[in-house]
């Protein structure tokens, strides 16, 4: 990743234009050529510097639902439970964190009724109580980290 890649990341975490030749327009603002911008984005996607390039959708406004949830998993069962939880397609992300609640995951479903159904499946499979932390209010969501 060089200085130009950093400039691209810092400038393009949003605001990509909707027009006939958007890469050309975005490249021009960065004083790059269209080919250079496309090639660099391609390379940064291939090398996983970028996880995606395109529209970021708002799950709830597409009719879907997202819920953060956590389990307190006994250490001896951790790998087994991680396998059981990860096996569900509704589990979009899952992280180990250091706390009594040591497994934190996001359930993402196409319809809101999918969430309690997924929680029931996890509780039945693991025998553990799922603590759900649905968002009551969103103050900020954005990725604005400097490269």
């Amino acid at each position: 990743m060089d200085e130009t890649d950093r400039r691209i990341i810092n400038a393009l975490q949003g605001g990509f234009p909707i027009c006939e030749a958007p890469y050309r327009e975005a490249a021009s603002a960065l004083e790059l050529t269209e080919v250079d911008l496309i090639t660099r984005l391609q390379r940064m996607l291939e090398t996983r510097i970028l996880t995606r390039f395109g529209p970021m959708y708002h799950a709830e406004r597409m009719g879907g639902a997202l819920v953060l949830a956590a389990l307190a998993v006994p250490e001896a069962d951790y790998e087994h439970v991680a396998g059981q939880v990860n096996a569900l397609p509704e589990v979009a992300h899952n992280y180990r964190r250091e706390h009594t609640l040591n497994m934190w995951f996001v359930l993402a479903t196409e319809i809101p009724a999918g969430i309690p159904a997924a929680i029931d499946k996890i509780e039945a499979a693991t025998g553990l109580k799922v603590h759900a932390f649905p968002k009551l209010k969103e103050y900020f969501v954005g990725m604005n980290l400097a490269a």
Partner: protein, 162 residues
């Protein structure tokens, strides 16, 4: 926009773009050809979805580990319910906070109701960010913690079907 105003073509457009935009000089024309729509229709639909907030933004999603942000903490705070909204807005404006939400407590195990994801290049940097948040919250905050992710067990993101 109510979700019921998403029509079948919107849904197809979402499915076609949720993995990313085509990396070709005229990406919206490429999508139009793929979906059997006109380029004008594709651009009008994306403009409308963006204005309605169904699309949060269009651009690059960096892998924060690749940018050197290896310390990623879920900071959690127990703040008075009556002032959580103004505090949450203020915390959400901090440059190192990528997500900030009001969520329910789960007493007695979990007293925290304000969640802010913080990102630093080291745990020391995150600890300094925690102090900054604590100063902003002042006496409205009764307890706090930060839970670092010590392992990614799964990361696929939301995908809707066809």
């Amino acid at each position: 926009m109510e979700t019921s105003t998403l029509d079948a073509e919107d849904h197809r457009l979402i499915v076609a773009t949720q993995g990313g935009l085509p990396l070709v000089p005229r990406p919206y024309h490429a999508l139009a050809a793929q979906l059997g729509l006109t380029p004008e229709d594709v651009m009008a639909r994306l403009t409308r979805l963006l204005a309605a907030g169904v699309i949060r933004r269009i651009g690059a999603v960096p892998n924060h580990y690749a940018l050197g942000y290896s310390a990623n903490g879920m900071s959690v705070w127990d703040v008075a319910d009556e002032c959580i909204d103004s505090l949450g807005e203020a915390i959400g404006r901090l440059p190192f906070v990528t997500h900030c939400y009001h969520r329910p407590r789960a007493l007695p195990l979990w007293p925290y109701n304000l969640f802010a994801m913080v990102h630093g290049k080291s745990r020391d940097e995150v600890e300094a960010q925690m102090k900054q948040i604590a100063m902003l919250l002042g006496t409205s905050c009764r307890a706090h913690d930060v839970l670092y992710s010590s392992r990614i067990l799964k990361k696929t993101g939301l995908r809707i079907g066809n």
